[in-house]
């Protein structure tokens, strides 16, 4: 085994990339859950985003159009969930699971003719001289625009939830939909918008996998990232900064185990492959000692009956 084969600069740059799909998906779900809705369909919306983004990027040759299509695809699928849970008042858990299964199947159908194709590459952002700084340059200033967008969105969501009126209303709806309704806020509309935001974010996360991280299309290629995103939201106690931390932890260990595999460490591959999941969950369980921060109306069906 040869640990010196692991290049620390490439390692850090790599884990930033590995964490980005998770950041997008979990951030979207965080907003959805803050509004009091539990959408278990993250995985399905991600894979739909992955194929919509991949197909559009291949057809048009523009990765940015691909990401736009991914967001639209994810949001469109989430609209189905919003219809089921907000209009027909279906059970949220069952609807979310159905959304995942539907997304996995439908994306496989859409993607049949795209297997084995290479998508157009999204260029790195040109930071000019910053890129040439040793170590920092390749680690921080050699990525595509979507990676920076992911971090910017964490900040934006944090500011929105903590400092703006819109964020206060969103939290209020998630805290007690009856009280919010009594004050005259449109619970169903606010939740539908939150669900669509979550869908769009999940779509972006999925497209980041198929267009940048892997980059190719295979069936079921999101491989459980959506589920990790769901767990991440809970263990991050619905706080954006902890979510970012958890995503980097997960991305870091994923990257590390890949590098260790490459370096030929004498541990069975299966143990290495499961390590990111185990370690992320352990750390976040310890962090999430205060459970009281869960939105009080999470997963409850709202009906304005009176």
């Amino acid at each position: 085994m040869d640990l010196s084969a692991i290049n620390p600069v490439l390692f850090v740059a790599g884990f930033l990339v590995a964490a980005t799909p998770l950041i997008f998906a979990a951030l979207g779900e965080l907003v959805v859950e803050k509004s009091g809705v539990l959408n278990l369909g993250v995985e399905g919306m991600m894979i739909m985003g992955a194929i919509c983004g991949f197909a559009t990027a291949v057809e048009t040759g523009s990765p940015m159009l691909g990401f736009a299509a991914a967001a639209a695809g994810g949001a469109l699928l989430s609209l189905l969930f919003a219809f089921l849970t907000q209009i027909t008042l279906a059970n949220q858990v069952a609807s979310g699971l159905a959304l995942t299964l539907f997304g996995l199947g439908f994306s496989a159908l859409l993607g049949q003719s795209y297997v084995g194709i290479k998508p157009p590459r999204l260029a790195e952002v040109n930071f000019g001289p910053l890129h040439d700084i040793p170590v920092l340059g390749p680690v921080l200033f050699s990525h595509d625009i979507m990676l920076y967008l992911g971090i910017a969105m964490v900040i934006a969501v944090w500011v929105m939830l903590k400092f703006t009126r819109a964020g206060l209303i969103l939290r209020a709806v998630g805290e007690s939909h009856d009280a919010a309704h009594a004050l005259g806020y449109k619970v169903v509309r606010i939740r539908t918008l939150a669900i669509m935001f979550g869908g769009a974010c999940a779509g972006l996360g999925g497209a980041y996998i198929s267009l940048i991280r892997v980059p190719q299309w295979t069936e079921g290629m999101t491989a459980g990232v959506g589920w990790i995103a769901l767990a991440l939201v809970v263990f991050a106690s619905w706080k954006p900064w902890r979510l970012l931390l958890g995503a980097y932890l997960f991305g870091g260990i994923t990257q590390l185990q890949l590098n260790l595999q490459g370096a030929g460490v004498a541990i069975p591959v299966e143990y290495l492959a499961m390590s990111p999941y185990i370690i992320t969950i352990l750390v976040l369980v310890v962090l999430s000692a205060d459970k009281s921060s869960a939105p009080a109306s999470l997963g409850r069906t709202f009906h304005a009956s009176s």
């Binding site: 009126r165 206060l168 209303i169 939290r171 209020a172 805290e175 007690s176 009856d178 009280a179 919010a180 009594a182 004050l183 005259g184 806020y185 009281s292 921060s293 939105p295 009080a296 009176s306």
Partner: protein, 505 residues
Amino acid sequence: MTAPLLALSGLTKAYPGVVANDDVSLTIAPGEVHALLGENGAGKSTLVKMIYGLVKPDSGTMQMHGAAFHPSEPRAARAAGVGMVFQHFSLFDALSVAENIALGMENAPKLRALSKQIRDVSEAYGLPLSPDRIVGDLSAGERQRVEIIRCLLQDPKLLIMDEPTSVLTPQEVEILFKTLRKLSAEGTAILYISHKLEEIRSLCDSATILRLGKVVGHCTPSETSARDMAEMMVGSILKTPLRAGKTPGAVLLDIQGLNAKSPSAFGMPLRDISVQVRAGEVLGIGGVAGNGQDELLAALSGEQPSGAGMIRFKDHDISQLGPIARRALGILAAPEERLGHAAAPDMTLTENAMLTGAVRENLERGGMLDWPAARRFAERIIKEFDVRTPGPGNAARALSGGNLQKFVIGREVLQRPEVLVVNQPTWGVDASAAAAIRQALLDLAENGAAVIVISQDLDELMEISDRFSALNEGRLSEPRPAQGLTVDEIGLMMGGAHGMEVAHV
């Protein structure tokens, strides 16, 4: 007479199967304190919801300052100067006082400026409140102050208050009334919904009485006796529960140093509760909601086992027994929450009768359920407690709150308990049904059972208790004979005015 602030004429609102408001008209002058009286289901809530824009009337008109007034949503009503203090459901536990208030305002200022406004208004009206506290930690009285201040910050012309005093200690009621009188003197009209008639007599200038959605009368409360008003509300003559003088028997339930954690995050732990209850006695336990009532019921019913030796029944230590074992011994309980706790909402009355009656009514033999017997038991409850329902096959959810309450209490009373613990036995029940339930509890005690009544209705407790004690922050005061207790003494047992110390710092 001055021009009316608000004039309603011919308001009608029908829901499938029921006319909630039928041709209701009333006028309120600026600065007038107007009471809206009626039993549950009389249509008071629907009427104020129409004024507040939560419900649209089917027909009829509303005028504000002589101009047509059709609020399509609460926002429009608030803009027109209508503020409403809700009975429940309008605060967010996990948010701070300032955030809660910001949510109810149209153009909320920045939180820091708002906090200052909150402090100013709370001082001006004698309603002590700290803007940074989390609402989940506040007492019921303090929560209500949050709602009142939320309304006051918008400078309302009309303040609607829906049953504001049902959760307050007598001292807190005094503070509230001072505030309301001050507002009224400044020209704010108040529409006051309550079923506490003595309060209305001391506070209100005029009253409108609703029965089954129709206006059945107007009166001047200060010149009308409470009994007359009650009879106008009910439409029949009221019976006062009777009790014979009696001497209590042996100690049935002996609670020593009961401590218990609360299962919920915003709940109240029980702290060192000691009390003895004798056969033939009614022990009334008062106190503001959220001071350990639910936890005490859970500890007595067996839902929440307690430490060894804390609860004894006759000569058995029952502290660790679960609800079924306690039921077998004769210790029965009826919790406050009707739907979901005392009864399973989507199950039929027969099934609900089976759920608690199986042990004592022999509805179960060798694991097999005796449905015909359960049905007969349910029918007996319906008959003896005058539960208005088409039959025992109806789902519990389909019953009105008062009828379900009669069923839930009746189900326990008919199982011949030796100890019965009830929480809020007449909550949301109309006056005549409440009298019937109280009579049943008194009869039960008469026949040698020990009855513990946990309630927030002090009049009810004074009416039926032999001894009275109060829960305050999970502690139970020393029980005292109910006869001769004054309102002030009761108020002090309940902990006085919550949060007043904040004001003096």
